[in-house]
């Protein structure tokens, strides 16, 4: 079948080598074992940080090789990185915000003579 070819012929696309795909899967399984192993150690608040760091490493491996971003034009990376950054920004600032108000909320709960089981603050006038 003869087709007119222009700037990007799908027949000339970069085919990810089989060895790369197998190595990617092996790396992902290895990192899964690592994250299970590390969760057994008691690192205090470090546990969550290490678990997230390993998850980010795994997600990057998936994006670069399985999703072949390593071989794509830059624009698709921009979309992925931008949406991850904005989602992370959203989580981070909301968590900052809510932890900021916790001391005030706790103080208020102590001051309000709470009905049994109710922790809702009294309506403000």
């Amino acid at each position: 079948m003869e087709e007119p070819t222009t700037r990007s012929d799908p027949r000339a696309a970069h085919v990810v080598p089989a060895s790369t795909l197998l190595a990617t899967a092996a790396a992902l399984l290895g990192l899964t074992a690592l994250t299970v192993g590390v969760s057994r150690l008691d690192l205090g608040p470090g546990n969550a940080a290490v678990a997230l760091a390993i998850a980010c490493a795994k997600a990057s491996v998936v994006a670069l090789f399985f999703m072949h971003l390593k071989y794509e034009r830059r624009f698709q990376r921009v979309i992925l990185v931008a949406s991850v950054l904005f989602a992370a920004l959203f989580v981070t600032f909301v968590v900052f915000d809510t932890t900021q108000y916790q001391p005030d909320l706790r103080a208020r709960e102590r001051l309000t003579p709470a009905a049994p089981g109710a922790s809702a603050p009294a309506p403000r006038r």
Binding site: M1, E2, E3, P4, T5, T6, R7, S8, D9, P10, R11, A13, V15, V16, A18, L21, L22, T24, A25, L28, L29, T32, T35, V36, S39, L41, D42, L43, N47, A48, A51, I54, A55, K58, A59, V62, A63, F65, F66, M67, H68, E72, F75, Q76, I79, L80, A82, S83, V84, F86, A87, F90, V91, T92, V94, V95, T98, T99, Q102, G117
Partner: protein, 236 residues
């Protein structure tokens, strides 16, 4: 070549079967499909971002509840499902490779393997959900764990009273893993569609964009599970 000569060459070449009328050639069509799926995946990340925020807020304020509640989840089943999804991602990437190289048999086998592994993931998820729901571990106000499931907790936790807000943890758990599960079911539907089309012999070196876009979606589903697994099953 001059412009009229190009026009004559284009008119002489048969139009590829799956080339939509508004595209000049399959290259333009493939690139548009890839841009479209990446924009969709970006919106999916923001979509899940709302749930990750709910998780972050609740864990930041009630870390002790998360340390207690994760003992209701079996990390071995979570790890098994992680491995199953990694395997399915491998076969999904393999199917793209087979389509690009024109290997029809390999394409069929890898799509079928992806579909079976996705079903295996849902089967494990069913076992987990059924176990919790049969023992009263639901979400929100419907969370009243019975004596049997409390007996499965580590001895040190069994002595503690059941936290009042346990149901909120499970609301977040069921929402996040449930939304992820719905994505897995959607992916199974898409792989069923790809299986039927590749049996018909639609895909090959010139036309593999549907195999690629579905695989990209599938990898995102895998990627979200990569975060859900440590966030729920591996809380120290």
């Amino acid at each position: 070549m001059t412009a009229p000569a190009l026009d004559r060459a284009a008119a002489a070449a048969p139009r590829p079967r799956f080339l939509a009328g508004h595209f000049e050639d399959l290259g333009a069509q493939t690139e548009t499909a890839q841009l479209g799926i990446w924009l969709f995946l970006g919106s999916e990340i923001l979509f899940f971002g709302g749930l990750f925020t709910a998780y972050g807020v609740y864990r930041a304020n009630h870390a002790e509840l998360f340390r207690y509640a994760h003992h209701f989840l079996d990390w071995r089943l979570g790890a098994l499902n992680t491995a199953v999804l990694i395997g399915s991602s491998l076969s999904a990437a393999w199917s793209v490779r087979c389509a690009q190289l024109g290997r029809r048999r390999g394409l069929l086998v890898s799509i079928l393997v992806t579909l079976l592994l996705a079903a295996a993931f849902m089967a494990v998820k069913y076992v987990e959900y059924a176990h919790k729901l049969h023992h009263g571990v639901g979400w929100g106000a419907a969370c009243h764990p019975d004596a049997e499931i409390l007996g499965e907790l580590p001895p040190a936790l069994r002595a503690l009273p059941v936290p009042a807000r346990l149901g909120t943890f499970f609301a977040i758990y069921f929402l996040m893993t449930g939304l992820h599960g719905i994505h897995v079911l959607a992916g199974m539907g898409l792989y069923g569609w790809l299986l039927a089309r590749s049996r018909r012999g639609d895909f090959g070196p010139g036309y593999w964009a549907p195999v690629d876009t579905v695989a990209l979606y599938w990898h995102l589903v895998d990627m979200i599970w990569i975060f859900l697994f440590p966030l729920f099953y591996l809380i120290g």
